[in-house]
Amino acid sequence: MIYFDNAATSWPKPPGVAEAMVHFLNEVGANPGRSGHRLAVEAGRIVYQAREAVAGLFGAPDPLRIVFGQNATEAINLALNGLLRPGDHVITSSMEHNSVMRPLRALERQGVELTVVPCTSAGFLDPADVAAAIRPHTALIALNHASNVVGTLLPVAEVGRIAREHNVLLLVDAAQTAGAYPIHVQADGIDLLAFTGHKSLYGPMGTGGLVIGERVDVSRLEPLKRGGTGSRSEREEQPDFLPDMCESGTPNAVGLAGLGAGLRWVRERGVDAIRAHEMILTQRLIDGLLSIPGVTVYGGHDAARQTATVSFNIAGLDCSEVGLRLDEEHGILCRVGLHCAPAAHRTLGTFPVGTVRFGLGAFNTADEVDAALLAVARLAREAR
């Protein structure tokens, strides 16, 4: 079996992730941030260590300005719904996932003005187009760091400079890049970084969060939910400080124990080394697919300008049939269709038919890429 669905969730997980979760359940177990006994403190410490590991990986100076939640979607919703008000103007790209698009379309109905800056048909964004879209009442720019459909990297650091020049906040959806591509929130000018734990940070599902930069006025941030935090228990009003103000309710501490182990593995192996490995595999995959008659490869065809996610179609075959046959006849697991990103598929010209998506990860090998290329070549030959 060949697992090529890492863009949906990474698998397998590194050694230590499952063990950290079992350890938490069997040996720690208590509620972090509630009570003061030794197990509660130990649980709190495990969660805090994950917070520090996230801060370290992304160059965030203050671990307490990292809010944990379920996933990148929740973090994006917190940033968008928490900061934007009717009358604000927000800019995004035409390559976004629905995790950004749907909250923005809902805010649009509430009076937030939205500009969707078009990307090229290969999925690239010109930062000058973002600069040209800025208006006096622009509050925020929301961009994915890399497309979940074709992996194309958007010019986050350039847009970060533009955002600072115009005193606009930059929210980056790093679901596809966190752990797989270097990110430094300060150097890249990122004010809000939404990440998920279960992709290239190699933690379990149900973990993610938002890194909140110093330029964000926390007193203007509305939490998604309110409730118990273990702090300021004498008050019936929500705390006004991070991270507690945005972390009501018992957290997924078991998951965060696993995320901490995933982060340790990423740091030990090194983001640069993971990136180098994935780039080699990605270029091998792209070049191989391009050489197969009847195969169309989307995106920029250049591993240096994208993540390890590659989308393609085979002439004469529906992408869903390709997915089914790759699974049943070749044991290759991938994702087909629209990938929760209709805007991106419209940009690429693949709406509504969709694409076949191979999402490579740190554990894939060149042999697996070569085996997949043989399988695709066979399907393409039979379809002619």
């Binding site: 941030g33 003061g36 006994h37 805090y48 273990g230 702090s231 300021r232 228990s233 004498e234 400080f241």
Partner: protein
């Protein structure tokens, strides 16, 4: 009053307490997280207990690391 062996630093949350613990340990200042004494606060979380002799050094270190504190009390 004199003769107190410990002081406790109250912080806004358990996350702050854990950050304080890390920063103090890095500075070589011994500390322990304990439940907040009821006479100091109705909060249900933890606070940072330090040796009374380390009080000034601890406050300096926490301030330098920008760890918000809510007060310091003899125990």
């Amino acid at each position: 009053m004199t003769g107190h062996e410990y002081a406790v630093i109250l912080v806004p949350s358990t996350s702050h307490a854990l950050r304080a613990e890390k920063v103090l340990q890095q500075a070589g200042i011994g500390c322990k997280l304990i439940p907040v004494p009821r006479q100091l606060s109705s909060d249900c979380g933890v606070c940072v207990r330090i040796g009374r002799a380390d009080q000034e050094a601890a406050l300096r270190v926490l301030d330098a690391a920008r760890v918000e504190i809510e007060g310091i009390h003899d125990l």
